[in-house]
Symmetry: D2
Subunit: 279 residues, 4 copies
């Protein structure tokens, strides 16, 4: 009687490969990346028989990232992702590859071509996810931890109420979030970095300029504006946690409450995700 259990989906690779490259001086002078490679393929016997013949060691994957970084890594992480994905697909046992790259952006210090400071605000990161082979050929770019807040221009009224509802309606509330966005390309832009910067600007600008009646509407307005301005992008997925700032009731202390003091809380948070795509 055979083994009644079956190996299902499996993938493996190397994660958290940190690579730093000096391209030159001034703006775009350095790259600071964390790379993750994941592969699928004919690895059944590795699991079930301890046969490592088809296996590319994850240590080899790490070495490959460093080796290819010297010749092939420029400022567009999307293109480096494609280089890596194509490389690993050449192994006969590997049928699909996903490469994720996270970049910590740096910019040259004014007037000092060899010195750099972080370019992004907060813990902001640029990301890219490139797939090839059985995963499909896709390039998804994105941003993490894009912090924005506004003290006006956000309302939240007219929502459903039941016996557990205590939230008052708000005609104008403080809205704070840390935007996550991922956009999929259906064309190849001339310069992924330029598009990335433009998307970032659009997200911040639409958050700032457009009043909204919910986080959902705010996100939809932002996503639509990105699609409207970027023809090479097919769809965009946005995550906008509602990072609550609780009003502090100062009347408890016999004070006049001017509505200007808040308690920011990390937990819990509203957790809103949406995708906008072309018709």
């Amino acid at each position: 009687m055979g083994d009644p259990f079956v190996l299902g989906a499996n993938r493996y690779g190397k994660a958290a490969v940190r690579v730093f490259k000096v391209h030159g001086t001034g703006v775009g002078g350095v790259s600071d990346l964390t790379v993750r490679v994941a592969c699928v393929g004919d690895f059944g016997p590795v699991h079930t028989n301890g046969d490592n013949t088809p296996l590319v060691a994850t240590d080899t994957m790490k070495n490959t990232v460093y080796a290819l970084a010297q010749e092939r890594l420029g400022t567009e992480i999307e293109r480096f992702g494609r280089v890596l994905a194509a490389h690993f697909l050449e192994f006969p046992s590997i049928t699909g590859v996903e490469v994720e790259i996270e970049e910590r952006p740096w910019t040259a210090v004014d007037g000092h071509s060899h010195a750099f400071v972080p370019a992004g605000a907060g813990a902001e990161r640029r990301v890219a996810r490139v797939t090839a082979g059985s995963f499909g050929d896709r390039i998804v770019a994105g941003i993490r931890a894009l912090l924005v807040l506004k003290t006006s221009g956000s309302s939240f009224t007219g929502f459903d109420r039941d016996r557990f509802t205590t939230l008052p309606e708000a005609e104008d509330r403080l809205l704070s979030t840390a935007i996550t966005a991922d956009w999929r390309y259906h064309g190849h832009p001339d310069d992924y970095t330029e598009v990335w910067r433009a998307v970032r600007s659009t997200l911040v600008d639409r958050f700032a300029a457009q009043p909204s009646r919910s986080v959902q509407e705010q996100g939809y307005l932002m996503g639509s504006a990105v699609l409207a301005s970027q023809p090479t992008i097919a769809e965009i997925t946005i995550g906008m946690p509602n990072r609550h700032h609780l009003p502090v009731d100062l009347t408890r202390f016999g004070l006049d409450d001017q509505g200007v003091v808040f308690q920011p809380v990390d937990q819990p948070y509203g957790d809103i995700h949406l995708t906008v795509h072309r018709a």
Copy 2:
């Protein structure tokens, strides 16, 4: 001409809702949970028209978790997840619910019925993910950060080599990992907590007892053993990051190297995932 953009997939809810409940004294006396609720449904107009009529406020979701915790939360987080999912599905606008619960386990201090210390080792957590409605009715239980290591009983040889391969073959290496496991039930066990404990034991025991020729084989042996011992479980997905311990070459210092001193590194790590299911 209409809007050329379309709202795609969207979901929203409340995340990081922390709830602590005192059931009584002794073992199982307290629950310490972090709950995440995500809902899908007829929320198009919320995004595109700013019409909040169908929207259940995430603040209401938070309140609901606390309200239902008093009456319905016992020691089985899977059952509490079902209670919450069923509750939110009653709203006409909500068509699908996913509830994720993470438990920090506590155990009574010996001889002190009202005092408790963490039950798990390290940062270990028990988790459950319950879906209902359009997501399908599923119960997935799991564990996070189950740390194990062994100083013998793991080899890694015979893998593919190319010009970027520098890793030596290892007949017996130190293997350290932080197991993530998620198992889906196809039946309803009498006591989810008992099954959870048994699965945890099997994972640790098989890691310790079974020699392996790769992390993949180790994981497959562990997953198969879980299915073999737990008839209510349909499949199990295991993540086993290879947390490398680099041998330190003491011969550089003119010392005899006994092979007992290592440098643990967090980055990079081998990233291995696999599923085992029934035939």
Copy 3:
């Protein structure tokens, strides 16, 4: 005219040196340490003239930790700290050394001599700080993140009240903390590890068994009990953050409130520190 600025206190060293050692099998079979070395001495010209002659490179300090770990590291981190401190004091330019060691404890899996799981609950760590030379010869041992909570046996009443006070008096409240403790030896115990275990037990036991009227009183009772039972300890400093569990008012939802559901919050927290020493 000379430079009007003066170099003041300075120190340097290597931090976050991670070292793992396999001693053997079973209990006490492995050590998993993070070491920090800090040195002071005659390093003025290093700062003011760029003269590195007296400087021991921090890379050398790292290598030294690994080299000495093979021969000199046993299960007592206090003794290894003394070995390291004595070694660095031999350099003529170094006049004072402080070595801090943090241990993640592991224990053998029952019945599997080569397999290990974390010994401590939560993120608990054993620590030691050893100083020599101009810092004075001291051995301070300690513990970090010793999580305990009790659902009864803690009151807080009779405190000072002013116009900003809203906290109600509590005859019996839930008390949760993550104990930090550091104790200084004035003698050399036969086995530092045995004393460490005994102190840990005393802290947990006194927290559990002794009712208290404030976190301060709880800490004082615990510290006194440690001194009473450990003659080699001269003084102990305890930090006990009050990790608040806010009662959730369920009467807002029309429910009978049984007082069993709480919202744990990480921020803010009461921050209590005290030292107990011998008369």
Copy 4:
């Protein structure tokens, strides 16, 4: 016979009090602070007798921070720290107060007076520590996580060598650090925020412009430049962890090594601290 144990140093307060204030629009429009209050005083009986009469509850301290924030919090956190310290010193039982404030800086989005993005790069924070009463009257301002790196202009040669030294000499290396700086005022500047910005600029500029022969020399040059330009500052303490970027040896893969690819590592790191004061 009396109790042979004695209460030593003790302090208590509230930590991680998060307060957000809307001042208005545009630059300086919002404050985002985390406040920590620590008090010492006549609290012996609180510990030893459970007598809470002299105790100001930490919950009251939290309320006070919010209450005073409305009227007294402007853009200078140093002045708000003084307001808080003076307030708590008025309690007869409190003899010394230390207030620590950490600010996450925000700046208005160009052209949008109510919308804000983080002002600092990375996880940078502005901090202040104000003491009063028995702690002495002091104002110390500072910065955390000021990330800078340079790809040239840093050498490290001529250091001491022993049998454990393997580090090669470096005529020109990559230098990366996350600056911590704390400066003590001996005068009261017209505008603490302006001085803070000027000190930040000086630190970055001197790091970028001045070549150095060690992290120590780099720090001394930076600290001296701050004192030279800011007459109200008495002394400055700088922490400069050496965040190593390891060269990756590409010749192992048969490649020409151009010296441009590095592996950044978080652990271990060189840990350098120094103070510069006036003669």
